[in-house]
């Protein structure tokens, strides 16, 4: 997905690092091998970037400058694609399994901003610090998501559940992941990871109170990705 943009911008000093949030390493590895990436392609089984950077969904991006300073915190990060999937058309197809139809209908209402995002990225790669999209440190911290007790606890419960899942105590994981969903309902990587392990379609299972369709309906599909904030830093 990122290969073309990476090849375009790498000669100008940008590296792209893709990070798969996947408890199941093998699933991610198979996808990556098909694309033969020439940029770092990492696997984050414990969703550690949620804790370290404030990631809440996929795809989420963070910009880091040459000195190791974050200049844009977590936000939706879509590349431009030659052909985006037509979710509505897929939802209308008679061949679609019934349990997927509603998911696809909702997906067709999700709002993404690939044009705005990639044009901001190109601007930064060319202009560096002078780019209006490169934010000063205080603004980066201010625009990073909230981290109160609830979000910090969610990160801890997710990690504990993931550790148990990975060390042969899978039956102990869901009760911690249920806590995660209660504590940080707007973190979709935590929720979708747990749902996907209970049901490949992320539908309703007996393990969790919620599922993708139910939770997306609750907030409205158009709010699934918070809109990019491309305005300059607010005045003091």
């Amino acid at each position: 997905m990122w290969q073309a943009l990476r090849n375009e911008l790498h000669p100008h000093g940008l590296e792209i690092v893709t990070i798969a949030l996947d408890v199941d390493t093998e699933a991610a590895r198979q996808w990556i091998e098909q694309t033969k990436p020439n940029h770092p392609s990492l696997i984050d089984r414990a969703h550690r970037v949620d804790e370290l950077f404030g990631v809440i969904n996929v795809p989420n991006g963070v910009w880091i400058d040459e000195e190791g300073m974050i200049v844009r915190p977590v936000e939706q990060a879509w590349p431009e694609r030659d052909s985006a999937p037509d979710w509505q058309k897929m939802a209308d197809s008679p061949d679609i399994p019934e349990q997927l139809r509603e998911t696809l209908q909702l997906a067709s209402h999700i709002v993404i901003q690939p044009k705005e995002y990639t044009s901001a990225l190109r601007d930064w790669v060319v202009k560096g610090k002078a780019s209006r999209y490169a934010l000063p440190p205080q603004e980066v911290i201010r625009r990073s998501g909230p981290r109160g007790q609830a979000q910090a606890q969610a990160a801890a419960y997710f990690e504990l559940g993931q550790f148990l899942w990975e060390t042969g105590k899978r039956h102990l994981a869901p009760r911690h992941w249920r806590e995660v969903h209660r504590l940080q309902p707007d973190n979709w990587t935590y929720k979708r990871q747990a749902w996907s392990l209970a049901d490949p379609f992320q539908g309703q299972s007996e393990l969790y109170d919620s599922c993708w369709v139910k939770d997306v309906k609750k907030i409205g599909a158009e709010n699934y990705y918070p809109p990019l904030n491309l305005s300059p830093p607010s005045a003091k």
Binding site: M1, G13, L14, E15, I16, V17, T18, I19, A20, L21, A27, A28, R29, S41, L42, I43, V49, E51, L52, F53, G54, V58, P59, G61, V62, I64, E66, E67, G68, M69, I70, V71, P73, A77, L121, V125, P137, I141, R142, S144, G145, P146, R147, G148, Q149, Q151, A152, Q153, A155, A156, E159, L160, F163, L164, T167, K169, L172, T189, R192, Q202
Partner: protein, 114 residues
């Protein structure tokens, strides 16, 4: 971070959370939080003390006998704009350090197979 005991090695604590133990206290980027004198001189850190001072939730699974110390709850997801060190395996299993890209601009971007 996952804990089997409530005594934490400061080196492990730093590499996992980004908080370094210095004479002035626990520091991440430009932020330093004072710690009790004993905590700094001792070889091990007490998880309860770190939990209290840094606002890190400490949770426990009694059946599995493990604890987990969560990230600092200081209001925002980022306590500092200094990028944390991130060490993760690449898809061939080789450890990759995000800091190895210093000197270049970097976009990190998440995706998943689910």
């Amino acid at each position: 971070m996952i804990l089997k005991t409530l005594d934490i090695d400061p080196k492990d604590f730093e590499s996992r959370t980004g908080w370094a133990i210095k004479p002035e206290g626990a520091c991440k980027g430009e932020v330093c939080v004072p710690l009790p004198a004993g905590a700094i001189s001792g070889a091990r850190l007490d998880a309860h003390m770190l939990s209290e001072r840094l606002g890190m939730p400490l949770i426990h699974d009694a059946d599995a006998k493990v604890w987990c110390l969560g990230p600092e709850a200081m209001g925002r997801a980022l306590t500092t704009a200094h990028a944390p060190e991130l060490v993760l395996p690449d898809y061939q299993g080789k450890q990759f350090h995000l800091s190895s890209l210093r000197g270049q601009k970097v976009l990190i971007v998440t995706w998943s197979s689910w």
